[in-house]
């Protein structure tokens, strides 16, 4: 279980997170929504220890990862997988080597076994047989799917998604959403998705949290969020220019 307790983060004078409190439920998909530049990625990076909070705690299975040294933090990170916004595949390696990377790094598995796992993971994301391709030969959607295959290579408990559908066409967006749901179910994952794509939010999210001005202003099930009267949330979901969220 992931629990954020009063997490504060500033960059210079710019306050990005101003006291985040959030419980992320096991075995469910929690979507964190909010405007562009509102600190969603920063929040996600705190959950996996890429950033440390100025104040507060980030608890993963009861351990405050903000206080861990690098070695212990790496142990906690083995529970995680992460799909980056642009997939962040290693462009010097082919698809096979990309997905095999965490397996070679953290398991003593033989080459044949690793090949088999890579093939299985590629099948799970619907891209069998592209092991030898380089990332530059793949489309945006394919790269994300390979990124997801790499994220689940080590059979993690938690997978984080950083805007998984940004920049994709509607059909590919739907395909990625289906894939997230299917992967979550099949591997019984705890997923944290950050997104500002309204359609995707309700499709994949069991729980939805709205981040606004560095705080979680609303948190609930998809149904609760859908019927919420919170003006920030209403404006965000309707895409209206009128309301508390200022554009400039």
């Amino acid at each position: 279980m992931i629990k954020l307790v009063d997490v504060h983060k500033s960059f210079g004078r710019q306050k990005v997170l101003g006291g985040i409190n959030l419980d992320i439920e096991d075995g469910k998909t929690t979507v964190i929504i909010g405007g562009s530049g509102g600190g969603k990625s920063v929040l996600l990076k705190h959950i996996i220890g890429l950033l440390r909070p100025d104040r507060g705690q980030v608890l993963v299975d009861g351990v405050d990862i903000a206080s861990l040294n690098d070695r212990d933090l790496n142990e906690v990170r083995k529970k995680f997988g992460m799909l980056f916004q642009e997939a962040a595949l290693f462009d010097s390696m082919n698809v096979m080597e990309n997905i095999a990377f965490p397996l070679r790094e953290h398991t003593g598995k033989k080459n044949a076994e690793i090949r088999q796992i890579v093939a299985d993971r590629l099948k799970a994301v619907g891209l069998s047989g592209i092991e030898e391709k380089m990332p530059s030969e793949l489309s945006g959607g394919m790269r994300k799917r390979v990124g997801l295959a790499r994220a689940i290579a080590l059979h993690p408990q938690i997978v984080l998604f950083d805007e998984p559908t940004t920049g994709l066409d509607p059909v590919m967006t739907e395909a990625i959403n289906e894939l997230i749901m299917e992967t979550q179910r099949n591997f019984n994952l705890t997923c944290v998705v950050i997104s500002h794509d309204v359609q995707s939010i309700f499709k994949v999210g069991h729980r939805i949290a709205m981040l606004y001005e560095g705080r979680i202003v609303e948190y609930g099930t998809a149904e609760e969020i859908h019927h919420s009267s919170n003006p920030v949330l209403r404006q965000f979901l309707s895409g209206s220019l009128e309301g508390p969220i200022s554009v400039m």
Partner: protein, 259 residues
Amino acid sequence: MNRISTAIDRFGRAVLDNIEEMGKILILFLSVLMWMVRPPLKLRLIFKQMEFVGVKSIFVVVLTGTFTGMVMALQGYYGFRMFNAESLVGSTVALGMTRELGPVLTALMVTARAGSAMAAELGTMRVTEQIDALSVMAANPVKHLIVPRIIAGVVMLPALTIVSDFMGILGGYFVGVPILNINEGAFVKNITKMVDLNDIYNGLIKAAFFGLILSLIGCYKGFNTTGGAEGVGKATTEAVVLASISILISDYFLTAIMF
């Protein structure tokens, strides 16, 4: 008065920024040392970088070394001819190459070729979140990306300098003996008489130090890149300029200590 205080303020900031940057480079170096001794050693990555820094730089180093030796012989000949001391051309070329020009020119060429590539590659990895991806997969980026490059720099620079020294002396020989008609025996004898093994060793120690500087600065600039494609370009330029300046300045102090 206002202008003066602004100028002092700017100067002070620049000094502080530079000191801060030196501190950060030093911290990165200490982290490299720590990860270097922590098993397992990533031999495949190290050999890949050694090939990139060393083997693929041979052509430019051969070319630079040869022509530097040739031009030194030519210039030396015009000077020494005035005192009928043309036979000293060989030893001048050999001393110049082994003590100074071999290590320095090799380092500058490798900075331009490999140091810039290190900054550009790591910079691109940073802005496309590949370095974060390494961290997320519990793989330390310093161990995977920086340690192999530093080892490659420190090991391959002396090796390339040996090539450069040899080609420089060979270039000097070809200009001196067949073209300028310097007596072959005197040319070679003066080299063996005046060039001490310590001259070569000290040149190689310098080369290893320059290898450390260029790879450390290339990696540091790349690793700390911000701001997309423009940031990568800026990091690459800064890496080449800072490494080149550092090589030339440290060369003076190393020479003062060694010889």
